[in-house]
C-alpha cells in the first residue's frame, strides 16, 4: 500500500485501539468504587465491594466460574493433544484440517442449543434408548443439562475449544519439525504417544501459549453459552453479573462493577497460576523425559483422550444435525427417535421474524468484517513498513500486544463501561454503536489471520509491478491484494463468523432495539419452543458455514472463471463487429 505518513497512521490506529479499552476499564473501575455520576454518586468508597463480599451468590458463582473456567480448557487441551498425537501421521488427518474450520465457524450459541436438544432429559440421547432400554415413556426427572456443577457447560466449552486448539496446533507443526522428530524417535524404538509426551508437546506448548490463554479467558467469562447450557441460581459469575447489571435497581450496577473487576482479577490469577503450574510440571517431568523409557503409563492417558475427543466431536455433529430436524418437525413426541410428521410450517410461521433477524445479523456482520479487513490491511502495511526499516526484525510491534487486549478482557463489565460512553455520545441503541463494539472483537481475529500471509508476501512482485507501470495504488490492489486473495477470504470468513456469534456487544450497544439471530436464539433457548429456536440456531450456523465454504472454494477458481468470462465477452464483441 503506497501509504504516506506511516508513522502518523500507526499513531492514530494505536490511539483508536487504546481509547475504547481505556474507557471500558475506567468505566468499570470507577463505579466499582462508588463513583458513578449518572446516578449522582461522586464519592469514592468501598461500599460496592462490601456489598459484593456480603453476597453469598458471589462466592457460589465464583466457585462455578473457577470449576468451568479451569476445567474446560484443561480438558480441551488434553483431548486436542491426544487427537493430534493419535492422528498426525495418518494420511486422513490432512482432511481433518479442512473439516475443522467449519466447526470453528459455528457460533457457540448454536452449538449449545444443539447440545441442549441432544442431552436434555427429553433430548435425543434419552429418546434413542427409550423406551426399549430405559423403560421411560415420559422424560425422566433428571438434571442433565444446566446441572448445578456446570458439567454440561464444561462439555459445551470443550466441544467449542478443542477444535480451535487442534487447528492452532496443526498450524504450528511445521515450525517444530514434528514429522522429522517423530521419524528419528520411532527409529529409536519410542512409542508414538511417548514421543509426543517427551519430545513434541514440550516444544509445542510455548508456541500455543497465547491461544490457550484466549481459551482460558473465554471459558472464565463466557455469557451466552452459560445462559443456554450453564447452571442457574447460582450461575457462573459472568451470568450473575449480567443479571446485576440489568437489575431495575440501578445501584446494583456499582456492586456489579466491583464484581466485573474481580472477574478481571480472576483471569489474571488463573493465567498466572496456569503458567506456574506449567513451570512446575515441566520441572518435575524434565528428568523423566530423558530416562530412556520407550513406553509409559501416561501413554494410556493420551489414548483415553483420543476416545473422549472423538466422542466429543461425534457429540458436536449430532447436536448440529438436530437443529434442522427440530425446525422441520410437526409432531415429535417422546420417546420417538424421529418426528412422526414433518412440516415447513414452523419455518413459514417464523419467516417474518427470521427475515428481520437475518437481515440485522448480516448487515452488522458484513459491514463490521469489511471494516475489519480494511483496517487490518492498513495496520499490517504500517507494520511491514516498520519492519522493512528496522534492523531488529524480531522486535514485536505495538499492535501485536494491543490487539489481544479486547479478547482477553471479560466482556461483562468492560462493555457496560463502554455503554456509559455510548450514552454520553447519544449513540446508544444505534446500529453504528453495535458495529463499533463488534469491530473490537472482530478486528483481532481478522488481523491475526491476515498477519502471517501478509507479512510473508513476496514484495518483489509489487516492486516489479511498480517498475513496469508506476500506478502504486492500482498495482497494490491488482497485484498484491489479488495475490493475497485466499488469505483475505479466509480472514473475512473468520471475522464474519466472530461477528455472527457476538451476543453481549449486540445486546448492550443495541439496547434490545436490534435483535440478531444470536441474541434472539439465546433469549428463547429456555422458552421450550424448540421448533422456533431450532430454526434460529440453524440459520445462525448456516451463514458462517456457507461463508467459510465459499472462502475456501472461490479463490482457487477465481482466475480461471475470470478468464473464461472475459473471453466470453471479448468473443461476443468480436462477433458483433464482424
Amino acid at each position: 500500500m503506497p501509504l504516506k505518513h506511516a508513522k502518523w497512521i500507526t499513531g492514530i490506529i494505536t490511539l483508536l485501539l487504546i481509547f475504547p479499552i481505556a474507557i471500558g476499564l475506567v468505566g468499570t473501575l470507577l463505579p466499582a468504587f462508588q463513583y458513578f455520576p449518572p446516578l449522582g454518586e461522586y464519592h469514592i468508597s468501598l461500599a460496592p465491594w462490601r456489598n459484593l463480599f456480603s453476597q453469598g451468590e458471589f462466592y457460589a458463582s465464583l466457585k462455578l466460574t473457577l470449576i468451568t473456567g479451569i476445567g474446560a480448557p484443561l480438558l480441551a487441551l488434553w483431548l486436542a493433544l491426544s487427537l493430534l498425537a493419535w492422528g498426525y501421521q495418518r494420511p486422513f488427518f490432512r482432511k481433518v484440517e479442512a473439516a475443522l474450520s467449519p466447526i470453528l465457524a459455528i457460533p457457540h450459541a448454536a452449538m449449545a442449543i444443539g447440545l441442549l436438544f441432544l442431552l436434555s432429559p427429553s433430548g435425543w440421547l434419552v429418546r434413542l434408548f427409550s423406551p426399549w432400554l430405559t423403560g421411560f415413556d415420559r422424560p425422566p426427572n433428571w438434571i442433565t443439562v444446566q446441572d448445578p456443577y456446570g458439567v454440561s457447560l464444561i462439555l459445551a466449552l470443550v466441544i467449542k475449544e478443542m477444535p480451535y486448539l487442534l487447528f492452532v496446533m496443526l498450524a504450528t507443526m511445521k515450525s517444530i519439525k514434528a514429522r522429522e522428530s517423530l521419524q528419528v524417535g520411532q527409529a529409536l524404538g519410542y512409542s508414538r504417544f511417548t514421543l509426543w509426551r517427551k519430545v513434541l508437546i514440550p516444544q509445542l506448548y510455548p508456541i500455543i501459549r497465547l491461544p490457550i490463554f484466549i481459551v482460558v479467558a473465554f471459558s472464565l467469562t463466557v455469557v451466552d453459552l452459560a445462559l443456554v447450557i450453564g447452571p442457574n441460581t447460582p450461575s457462573t459469575l459472568a451470568v450473575t453479573l449480567l443479571r446485576w447489571f440489568n437489575d431495575p435497581d440501578l445501584s446494583m450496577r456499582l456492586m456489579a462493577s466491583a464484581g466485573a473487576i474481580s472477574l478481571m482479577l480472576v483471569i489474571v490469577v488463573v493465567l498466572a497460576g496456569w503458567e506456574l503450574a506449567h513451570l512446575l510440571f515441566s520441572k518435575l517431568t524434565r528428568a523423566e523425559r530423558s530416562n530412556g523409557k520407550r513406553f509409559g503409563l501416561t501413554d494410556s492417558l493420551l489414548r483415553l483422550g483420543v476416545v473422549l475427543g472423538l466422542l466429543a466431536l461425534l457429540n458436536a455433529f449430532v447436536a448440529l444435525a438436530l437443529l434442522p430436524i427440530w425446525s422441520l418437525a410437526r409432531r415429535w413426541r417422546f420417546p420417538d427417535a424421529l418426528p412422526s410428521q414433518w412440516t415447513w410450517d414452523n419455518i413459514d410461521r417464523a419467516t417474518p421474524l427470521l427475515i428481520e433477524l437475518t437481515s440485522n445479523t448480516l448487515t452488522i456482520a458484513l459491514i463490521t468484517t469489511l471494516m475489519a479487513c480494511t483496517i487490518s490491511l492498513v495496520m499490517l502495511e504500517t507494520k511491514r513498513h516498520d519492519m522493512a526499516r528496522s534492523t531488529d526484525i524480531s522486535k514485536p510491534h505495538l499492535f501485536d500486544w494491543l490487539i489481544y487486549v479486547p479478547i482477553l478482557l471479560p466482556q461483562i463489565g468492560f462493555l457496560f463501561g463502554l455503554h456509559v460512553l455510548l450514552i454520553y455520545l447519544n449513540l446508544n441503541g444505534d446500529l453504528c454503536a453495535i458495529i463499533a463494539l463488534h469491530l473490537m472483537y472482530v478486528l483481532p481475529y481478522v488481523y491475526l489471520t491476515l498477519k502471517g500471509p501478509y507479512l510473508a508476501y513476496e514484495e518483489e512482485y509489487l516492486l516489479q509491478a511498480n517498475r513496469l507501470n508506476h500506478q502504486p495504488w492500482r498495482n497494490y490492489v491488482l497485484v498484491k491484494i489479488a495475490m493475497l486473495k485466499p488469505a483475505i477470504f479466509t480472514a473475512f470468513a473468520i471475522g464474519f463468523s466472530v461477528s455472527i456469534a457476538q451476543y453481549l456487544p449486540t445486546l448492550i450497544a443495541g439496547e434490545g432495539r436490534y435483535s440478531t439471530l444470536t441474541t434472539e436464539a439465546v433469549a428463547q433457548a429456555a422458552s421450550g419452543d424448540r421448533k422456533q429456536v431450532g430454526s434460529m440456531a440453524m440459520l445462525q450456523a448456516f451463514f458462517p458455514i456457507m461463508v467459510f465454504w465459499l472462502a475456501q472454494f472461490i479463490p482457487p477458481h477465481w482466475t480461471r472463471w475470470r478468464l473464461v468470462l472475459k473471453n466470453l465477452f471479448s468473443r461476443r464483441n468480436k462477433s458483433c463487429s464482424v
Binding site: 526499516r389 534492523t391 518483489e460 512482485y461 516492486l463 516489479q464 509491478a465 511498480n466 517498475r467 513496469l468 507501470n469 508506476h470 497485484v479 489479488a482 495475490m483 486473495k485 477465481w558 482466475t559 478468464l563 473471453n567
Partner: protein, 211 residues
C-alpha cells in the same frame, strides 16, 4: 548510454566496492562478475533506486548525461530482471504483457503489441494460459519481453539465468542478447557464471575484495 562514476559501497565501516566507474553504450551489455556478498546486487539496487537503508553509497550515475542517482525510482524508467521471473500468477500471459505496455497507447495497438510478443516467443496459443503452465525457460523469456514492453531506458539483469536448466540457458541467453540489441538500450548484467558474461559479447568487469 549509461555511465557510473566513482561508485563506492560500504556496509557499516566495511567497504565493499571502491571507486567503480564504467560506461555502457546503447544496445551493449556490460557483465559484472564476482563472488557472492561483494555488493553486485547492491550496485543494481543503487541504479534502480531501491537500495536498502543500512548500506551507504557514494558516486554518480548518468543516463545520456542526465543524472539518475538524484531521481526517485518511479522517474527512472528502469527495467529489472531477476532470478525469479515474477510473472503475476493470477494473470494470464497476455495480461502480464499488457500490464507492462504504457497506458497512453490505444487499446487495439496494445493488444497487437502483446500478440506480437507472443509470436516472437513462439507461443501465440498460450495467450490465455497462466504462468505456471509455462516451462521455466518460457517464463524467463516472457519476463524479459514484459520488461522490454514497458519501454525502459536501461535494463538491469540480476542473474536471470541461474534458475534455468543448463541446456535452456544457451537459448535464453541468445534471446536476451538479441532482444536488448533490438531495443537498443544499455544493459548491465550481474552474474557469477563466466559463461553468461561470454555469451553477452560485451565487456566484463570482475569485482574483487577491497583490501
Amino acid at each position: 548510454m549509461l555511465s557510473v562514476n566513482a561508485f563506492s559501497l560500504s556496509l557499516g565501516d566495511k567497504t565493499l566496492i571502491k571507486d567503480l566507474s564504467f560506461e555502457i553504450a546503447d544496445g551493449q551489455i556490460l557483465s559484472i562478475m564476482g563472488p557472492s556478498g561483494i555488493g553486485k546486487s547492491s550496485l543494481l539496487h543503487f541504479l534502480s533506486g531501491s537500495l536498502s537503508p543500512n548500506l551507504t553509497t557514494t558516486g554518480e550515475a548518468f543516463l545520456n548525461d542526465e543524472a539518475l542517482h538524484t531521481k526517485a525510482t518511479q522517474d527512472r524508467k528502469v527495467g529489472l530482471l531477476q532470478q525469479m521471473p515474477l510473472l503475476f500468477p493470477h494473470m494470464s500471459i497476455i495480461e502480464n504483457l499488457l500490464f507492462a505496455i504504457p497506458a497512453d497507447i490505444n487499446k487495439a495497438e496494445r493488444i497487437t503489441m502483446a500478440q506480437h510478443a507472443l509470436e516472437k516467443l513462439g507461443i501465440p496459443d498460450k495467450a490465455n494460459a497462466l504462468p505456471k503452465e509455462l516451462s521455466g525457460g518460457q517464463q524467463a523469456r516472457v519476463a524479459l519481453l514484459r520488461t522490454l514492453l514497458s519501454k525502459p531506458d536501461y535494463l538491469l539483469l540480476d542473474e536471470p539465468f541461474s534458475e534455468l536448466d543448463p541446456a535452456l540457458r544457451r537459448d535464453v541467453r541468445a534471446f536476451v542478447l538479441n532482444e536488448i540489441r533490438q531495443a537498443n538500450i544499455p544493459a548491465l548484467l550481474v552474474t557469477h557464471d563466466p559463461e553468461d558474461a561470454k555469451a553477452m559479447e560485451g565487456e566484463c568487469l570482475e569485482l574483487g575484495i577491497v583490501k
